[in-house]
């Protein structure tokens, strides 16, 4: 799949944003006054920035509001609802923190749950797609939610952020391990795609058009896959190992968490680029490509 910057930015930023909001809502990270303003601001900022980035991916944003209509079947629609609901539900909590109104913490819990659910819906947009076997697996939401919590934790300067990252290492390895076998498990070939496996071994003679098209640009992205292994290592290093190292050697000061967060975010971006670039759509079969 084509790793569109807008979508990568969206999923990484909003993921971290909602992760942070979740922690704040749950009260795991609690502050008042300016620090609260910074944290809530960061949470809302990232979440909203992410959503805006997503809007850039739309060919026709004018109809944006209609995206709320199909929550019954569409994970994208559900995501829209979840996101907005989260932001609204947590608003009073944030306000109370800023002005130190001392609203009971329980008020934040629904918002916290909803925040993580938002990230889950984002993941399900991808996970539901059978045509992209690598995505079509429970580890996809696991990775997204994992990144959200981890990102949130490190942004919220939680001492246990390192453990989250440590947890992400096996999760990612598992996701990649399973992912690499997904396409073959889906057992779709040019033979089944055309049904010509009944005749014999099928190969492409001529492409339908010699000119390019939307499918080739959007779903048959093969560029840069050869660097996958290297990028996976980089993703692991940046998203987990390096920040863990930083957090274990350096004293737990905001600035240190800040640096760790930046490094982690870079890792998240690399992981997210791979998430798309490595994903193979079955339509590629018709073009003799994966």
């Amino acid at each position: 799949m084509h790793p569109a910057p807008s979508v990568i930015i969206f999923s990484v930023l909003s993921g971290m944003g909602f992760g942070l909001l979740a922690l704040m809502g749950a009260g795991l990270a609690h502050a008042t006054g300016w620090p609260a303003f910074l944290w809530w601001g960061l949470g809302y900022g990232l979440a909203i920035a992410g959503l805006l980035a997503a809007a850039f991916h739309l060919g026709n944003p004018r109809n944006g509001l209609k995206a709320f209509s199909q929550w019954r079947t569409s994970w994208l629609s559900r995501e829209a609802w979840a996101a907005v609901a989260t932001l609204l539900l947590l608003a009073p909590v944030a306000l109370s923190d800023l002005l130190d109104l001392g609203l009971p913490r329980q008020f934040g819990w629904p918002g916290a749950v909803l925040a993580l659910f938002t990230v889950f819906t984002t993941a399900m947009i991808y996970a539901q797609i059978r045509a992209v076997p690598r995505w079509h697996h429970p580890t996809t939401p696991l990775v997204f939610v994992g990144f959200a919590v981890t990102g949130g934790a490190v942004l919220a300067g939680q001492d246990w952020a390192g453990w989250c990252m440590a947890f992400m290492v096996p999760v990612l390895l598992l996701y990649w391990r399973i992912g690499d076998g997904q396409f073959d498990r889906a057992a779709q070939t040019l033979g089944t795609a055309t049904g010509l496996d009944r005749v014999g071994q099928v190969g492409v003679f001529e492409q339908a058009h010699t000119a390019s098209n939307y499918l080739l640009r959007e779903m048959i992205f093969v560029v840069g896959r050869k660097h996958a292994q290297r990028l996976r290592i980089i993703a692991l290093l940046l998203a987990a190992l390096l920040p863990i190292l930083i957090l274990t050697v350096a004293p737990h000061r905001p600035i240190v968490f800040g640096i760790a967060a930046m490094v982690h975010m870079c890792g998240a971006f690399v992981q997210r680029w791979l998430f798309f670039a490595e994903a193979e759509h079955v339509v590629g079969l018709y073009y003799g490509q994966r």
Binding site: G59, N63, R72, S74, V132, A186, Y286
Partner: protein
Amino acid sequence: MTQLPTQTAKRLGLVVDLDTCVGCQACVTACKGWNDQGSGLSDQDPYGADPSGTFLNRVHSYQVQPVEGTAQIINFPRSCLHCEDAPCVTVCPTGASYKRHQDGIVLVNEDACIGCGLCAWACPYGAREMDVAQGVMKKCTLCVDRIYNENLPEEDREPACVRTCPTGARHFGDFADPGSNVSRLTADRGGYDLMPDLKTRPTNKYLPPRKKDRRHEASLLAPLLDIKATGFAGWLDKMLSKI
């Protein structure tokens, strides 16, 4: 409305005969022509180095090597299959994507489309193309604007690609009616689904190529007589005595 109808009154769709398709691309440009005049299917850089445009029907060409016998070329038209369990519909956040309960045709309501592209991702068959100029999703409409069109003579109320196909390799009809041309062709010629494992339950069916390059057990010609022995005169005699 992205909830799929549990069942539709009719199940309109196409049968594509791979034993007959010569890969002439007529259905490709007929489709482009019909759909271009109305809603419009844009082309980018049409006279430039990297032209690219929206097409709702594309014809591939594959080479197939049977276990034994000579290799074959098989032409393969690809357009929307109007699936019964159309994932492209359920993923749509706006309801722009929908499947008609009257006849099962899967359509995009361009007025409601936000161009998120998710339906195209969800389609295993590459049947949806985002129109770059309009930012909305395009797909085969089964010529819904022809098949019921009162302004067209009865005989023309069929898809443009079917009407134009010179070899008659494309057939349009109602799969819900077991007596329809498409149902009968599917039954008689072993029409099949593409990627059935993906649980989309396509409406369109493909007819497999007939068996080619038959082994020649056919009884060979027996000589009239032993020419070497009789010579030409003998042959001529025997030959003409046949009249």
